[in-house]
């Protein structure tokens, strides 16, 4: 291998001065641009107070919300009354339905003589969550009536109460409640807590998975994905987490709720009608469509609205942009005035954001797909018009001249001299916008322009319906991928390129 000596090097440097003597900007531009970006990022860190926001963010909630996407909680609650009587309840709308007796909750019942004190009865009864399921309302009314009686005279009666309750979360985690004492087992450790109705006192030191912010106040138990719990002086509530979407097909009010697939199948095929008015199959279908938790019919309708918004908006935009683009193209319409007017119109339609159009038409037409459709139509007439007129200005003039030279009418010149050149491009761009509008239609829906966006937004605002959000996101992703595929396939056929 030969090496260059210094004079040869100089010779090369003299021969190619452009390579060795580059300007300052040429040499350092990447460093300068990167440095600018870094400085700007630091400025944004300060402008958005990112450090502060990330520090104060509630990251525990993030885990819970994420887990809610694919799982659900069942919340048994043990209430301890001042006289030591215990009651096990589930909140209203529990995914298990009313009168649930899950096998992971063991209870021992016993009778107890209770004296209802004249004062305070009202508050105790009112404070307790209503018993179970949709019977809850009736129970509350009954409770207040009893309390009202209790105000007049103190009554004594025998009642069936829970003597011991054991809730098993998984093989290593369980919570056992007997009057005045809660025993929690998790990951091989045992925590005993004394609850006497006014104070929560743990025996010994708390394990890492239990926290008590102030002595005597509630203890929070974290069991990871298995769930969590809270021990208060008069109330022990446990959340057990199950993987999956609860009651996806049938809600708790449906006669099919809680039945296995084969049971449902045999019910549907049997002739004995549950509802005399309709067959079991149509009842089942009805129950699925009007499922109160998942609202399948509503979600599907809203999704279809979104699709329709994108489809109609883009199609109309294409139909309007098509003739206007001929007016805007310099080489087709040789009139400076009409060129400028159409081009500025396109700029205006495009620059007034889709958001502004969406808000505007929501006010005009009321919330719904008409508003979203009009917003997409207006914005995309501008964008497509601009792209189309640019494409027209870049066409090959020879073909037009050829058609013109045989004495064709002006319309025929456009039809046979211009259209064949630009039509694939026009169709391809329209398809691309159709596909991308399916995505943007979701987001303008959230400001009230109809479609699934608003439904998504509402589901998120409650912060408790993340599983519904996941369901809708899944549907949207499916639609977007399918449309992406269709649009790509059609476009590559139009443009004569193999799809990638």
């Amino acid at each position: 291998m030969t090496t260059l000596n210094s004079s040869q090097m100089d010779e090369i440097a003299a021969r190619h001065p452009a390579v060795f003597h580059r300007s300052f900007w040429q040499r350092f531009r990447i460093a300068i641009i990167t440095g600018g970006f870094v400085l700007y990022a630091l400025y944004c860190w300060w402008f958005f107070a990112i450090g502060h926001v990330l520090g104060t963010a509630n990251w525990n909630i993030a885990g819970t919300y994420l887990a809610d996407w694919v799982s659900y909680e069942v919340r048994p609650e043990v209430a301890i009354e001042p006289d030591g009587a215990m009651k096990l309840t589930y909140p209203r709308f529990s995914p298990l339905g009313p009168n649930a007796k899950p096998d992971w909750v063991e209870i021992e019942l016993g009778t107890m003589t209770r004296t209802m004190p004249a004062a305070g009865a009202m508050t105790t009864t009112e404070k307790k969550p209503a018993s179970i399921g949709f019977m809850g309302e009736g129970a509350v009314i009954g409770g207040s009536a009893a309390a009202a009686e209790g105000l007049a005279t103190a009554t004594t009666r025998e009642e069936e109460v829970v003597k011991r309750a054991k809730i098993t979360l998984n093989s290593s985690t369980s919570v056992e409640v007997v009057p005045e004492r809660v025993t929690v087992q998790h990951a091989g450790e045992t925590l005993v807590v004394d609850v006497d109705g006014s104070e929560v006192k743990p025996e010994g030191t708390l394990p890492a998975w239990a926290t008590q912010k102030t002595p005597g106040q509630k203890i929070t138990l974290a069991f990871g994905f298995a769930g969590w719990g809270e021990i208060e002086a008069d109330d022990i509530s446990i959340r057990k987490r199950f993987l999956g979407w609860a009651n996806f097909l049938f809600d708790t009010n449906s006669p099919f709720h809680g039945k296995s697939t084969s049971e449902v199948a045999s019910l549907i095929t049997s002739d004995e009608r549950i509802d005399p008015k309709q067959s079991n199959l149509s009842l089942a279908w009805d129950n699925i469509l009007y499922n109160s938790e998942w609202q399948h019919l509503d979600v599907w309708t809203k999704l279809l609205q979104t699709i329709v918004m994108a489809f109609v908006g883009t199609l109309f935009a294409m139909l309007l942009a098509f003739p206007l683009a001929f007016l805007a193209a310099r080489n087709i319409t040789r009139n400076w005035f009409s060129n400028q007017i159409t081009k500025r119109l396109f700029d205006f339609l495009r620059s007034v954001d889709m958001l502004i159009w969406a808000l505007f038409f929501t006010r005009a037409f009321g919330p719904g797909p008409l508003a979203g459709m009009s917003a997409i139509f207006f914005t995309d007439t501008g964008t497509l018009g601009k792209l189309y007129s640019e494409a027209l200005e870049n066409i090959d003039d020879k073909q037009r001249e050829g058609v013109k030279s045989v004495g064709a009418a002006p319309v025929a010149v456009q039809r046979f001299g211009v259209l064949p050149q630009v039509m694939p491009l026009f169709a391809s761009q329209a398809l691309y916008f159709w596909e991308s509008n399916t995505r943007s239609a979701t987001i303008i829906g959230a400001v009230g322009a109809g479609g699934i966006g608003l439904k998504l937004w509402e589901a998120m605002r409650t912060n408790s319906d993340w599983e519904n959000v996941a369901y809708m996101v899944l549907l949207i992703l499916m639609v977007v991928f399918v449309f992406d595929g269709i649009s790509n396939a059609l476009r590559s056929r139009l443009m004569g390129k193999p799809s990638h």
Binding site: F48, L359, F365, Y432, G450, L477
Partner: protein, 320 residues
């Protein structure tokens, strides 16, 4: 065109060609009409469905469309500029409609930034910052998705699917989710727009990389350069102008996107616009629309000018 019937003058072969041509033409025309018919059916069905499910019906609401336009006219022309620059209004009656000076953000005793300019700056910052974040991660990912640089189908496919999911994931959901965790502020919008941008730019970038000239890379491979060195010295210099151009294109889109995200709770000017349209504050609405219009046109023009300098007069596919 092809209305000629078979002439007697044709030879046998000529007649066959003519017949084939006629058949082909008839079939093509049938497909065209069939396609148009399907489109017409889909369109009328869609229109009916949209009209049925809308809160107000199209023809019922149409006359009121212009009422609303009339509602948007402020009391006098200068009202818009007073709202824009936070100057006190002569119509001030203590209501939110005319409380322009209350939004002032004082820098010093007497110097202030008008509220809408501040919020517009916030929206622009959201757009620019998230485009930069998107570019950074898109840059890192795109080389792993390019066919000419990564031979491993599995890795390539994984990176591509990952970017597709980032791109297709609804921004509203990302914004809403981070809004729940980070509480109100512009950061959820930044995260939502950035995540989408990573996917969108990543896709455009890897297509650029796949079209790059491989000779430089080959030369580097011949002298024993590692994968990173080959990418950095062989590919990056040729694709960088295109990358910057796509970055600017994306910036235009993101200015719009961050306005919309703002309207659904991400802060910035979008939120103010939604509120003022909803509460019928004419002058405020017009001031914001004016400001937005000017900003968007300015950003578009600036980016178009810079792109022309970077890659010449090149027509770029708009990507979202």
């Amino acid at each position: 065109m092809a209305t000629n019937t078979l002439h007697d003058g044709f030879s046998e072969k000529g007649a066959l060609i003519e017949r084939h041509w006629q058949e082909l033409n008839a079939r093509r025309r049938l497909y065209t009409w069939l396609g148009l018919a399907i489109l017409a059916v889909a369109l009328s069905g869609s229109l009916w469905f949209a009209n049925e499910t809308n809160a107000g019906k199209f023809f019922d609401r149409l006359p009121y469309l212009f009422d609303f336009v009339g509602d948007m006219v402020p009391r006098d022309g200068f009202e818009v500029f007073r709202a824009l620059f936070d100057l006190p209004s002569p119509y001030d009656d203590g209501s939110f409609k005319y409380n322009y000076p209350e939004g002032r953000l004082y820098i010093t005793e007497s110097l202030y930034v008008p509220e809408y300019f501040h919020k517009m700056l916030e929206t622009l910052n959201i757009a620019l910052f998230s485009t930069i974040i998107g570019m950074f991660f898109g840059f890192l990912l795109c080389f792993l998705a390019a066919k000419n640089l990564v031979a491993n189908r599995l890795l390539r496919g994984f990176v591509r699917r990952f970017m597709e999911i980032l791109r297709a994931f609804p921004e509203v959901v990302l914004a809403g989710f981070f809004l729940a965790i980070l509480s109100l502020g512009p950061l959820p919008a930044v995260i939502a727009v950035s995540i989408h941008t990573v996917g969108a730019l990543g896709k455009l970038f890897f297509e650029v990389v796949e079209n790059a000239d491989m000779k430089a890379e080959e030369g580097l491979r011949a002298v024993g350069a590692s994968w990173v060195e080959r990418v950095w010295f062989g590919i990056v210099p040729q694709v960088l102008p295109n990358f910057m151009s796509y970055f600017l294109l994306r910036l235009e889109i993101n200015v719009r996107a961050s306005t919309i995200i703002g309207a659904v709770g991400g802060g910035g000017i979008g939120e103010l616009l939604r509120l003022s349209i909803g509460q019928n504050h004419q002058a405020k609405t017009l001031a914001i629309v004016l400001l937005l219009l000017i900003t968007i046109i300015a950003v578009d023009q600036f980016s178009a000018w810079l792109r022309r300098k970077l890659v010449g007069d090149h027509a770029f596919r708009l990507a979202q």
